[in-house]
């Protein structure tokens, strides 16, 4: 009967973890951010999900003041040439060439290829999880425990961005200053959410859709019209 005590302990931990996650899930309506000096800087991480995801993200980024949102950390999937080209075009057009290190690149193993079967999806997703756990959570923690990887993270799908949300949640759970997350659903989603949208919706600080009916009647979904 000795095995029952570790099980009870484990179960207890799980319950505490669930309660804690419930506590840190963003409230609705979102709490107001404290005011910042307009000339201060805000570090930003951007996930480029390839194909249409990258082209929409690139349009969104093209509207941001790069001197304010700096440094920029681009996260993309291995071998995604199109995203790399998008980054270099954006940075050469909008970035400040005089300051070094105004942006960095983080390549991740892809969590799921199109039509990949479940088992191999699990394996490749855990690779993505380990790499992003190290770079997005543990490494910044070792460098300076007070500062998260970035102050804000921009995501718009597909699957790999779910892993980034998961990893970013560690700091929330332990109560450290954390990365705020904003999800922007695709312009192509008129009456329904994408799978990654559905998965991350309860956990992100802001969830934007571009068509009024795309998000259902969920309280936390915001529609400001077309963004790209």
């Amino acid at each position: 009967m000795g095995f029952i005590y570790p099980l009870i302990a484990l179960g207890g931990c799980m319950i505490l973890l669930i309660i804690r996650i419930y506590q840190v899930i963003p409230s609705s309506p979102p709490t107001k951010s404290s005011k910042r000096n307009p000339s201060s800087k805000c570090s930003i991480a951007i996930f480029l999900g390839s194909g249409g995801h990258t082209s929409e993200m690139r349009s969104l980024l093209s509207t941001l003041p790069f001197d304010r949102y700096s440094p920029r950390k681009y996260i993309y999937c291995h071998n995604d040439e199109i995203s790399l080209r998008a980054i270099s075009e954006l940075e050469s057009k909008k970035g400040d060439v005089r300051t070094q290190n105004s942006y960095t690149l983080l390549p991740l193993p892809r969590a799921r290829k199109v039509s990949e079967p479940l088992l191999s999806t699990l394996i490749s997703a855990s690779k993505t999880l380990i790499v992003s756990l190290w770079h997005v959570s543990l490494l910044p923690m070792l460098k300076d425990p007070r500062e998260p990887y970035a102050e804000v993270l921009l995501i718009n799908g597909p699957g790999t961005c779910v892993v980034l949300v998961l990893v970013s949640y560690i700091r929330r759970i332990v109560g450290l200053k954390y990365t705020k997350i904003i999800y922007i659903e695709s312009f192509a989603r008129v009456r329904s959410l994408s799978l990654s949208g559905k998965l991350v919706r309860p956990f992100v600080d802001k969830f934007l859709v571009q068509w009024p009916e795309a998000g259902g009647r969920g309280g936390r979904v915001e529609c400001k019209g077309w963004l790209v």
């Binding site: 979102p30 910042r36 307009p38 509207t63 949102y69 192509a188 994408s194 600080d205 802001k206 019209g225």
Partner: protein, 182 residues
């Protein structure tokens, strides 16, 4: 010289690209004074060329004259916007990138969208229908092309409803407010 572009972006949509090489559609295009037909066929394994004997070179390009019309095939392009700019009419799959690029040109190009119904999660058709209802573009099924193309090619270009340009402040304002910058 009137140019019609058929584009499937980076997808695989042989039903669309093949049907534009069928004798009936080619005859229909000639009748409507199309002198150049460009088919950007993406990842499709062309040609199902209905006996046209189009020879594709190493980069996947090829061309053939059909009556008074030049038919050009290309797999991919680095300059999609340029390709659209050089065309008078655009027939596209329902990808949001192709739709936005075509409609945001000044003046916008007449656009006929053919959703790929073999896609499992066909949210793209929803986008096409919604944009069609708002009058920015026309929508057709593959099997209706012989009926919709004549209507499409008779559109008065001045009657196209212009699609609004991107609002440069909308997303910036949302992010600024979220991060405490307003």
């Amino acid at each position: 010289m009137s140019t019609l572009l058929v584009t499937v972006g980076s997808t695989l949509f042989p039903d669309l690209t093949d049907s534009f090489l069928s004798p009936s559609i080619l005859a229909l295009l000639e009748l409507h004074r199309i002198r150049r037909l460009i088919i950007q066929y993406g990842r499709a394994e062309l040609p199902l060329d209905h006996g046209l004997h189009i020879h594709l070179d190493g980069s996947g390009k090829g061309s053939v004259n059909v009556g008074g019309m030049r038919v050009e095939l290309i797999g991919f392009t680095d300059d999609f916007e340029g390709l659209v700019r050089g065309s008078d009419w655009v027939v596209s799959h329902a990808g949001s990138g192709s739709i936005l690029t075509t409609l945001r040109l000044n003046p916008p190009k007449p656009l006929l969208v053919v959703p790929n119904e073999s896609l499992m999660d066909n949210h793209q058709a929803e986008l096409a229908d919604e944009m069609g209802e708002k009058g920015y573009l026309m929508v057709s099924k593959i099997e209706d092309l012989e009926h919709t193309l004549p209507k499409f090619l008779s559109i008065d270009k001045h009657d196209i409803r212009p699609f609004p340009q991107m609002d440069q402040n909308r997303f910036k304002n949302v992010l600024d407010e979220m991060m405490g910058f307003d």
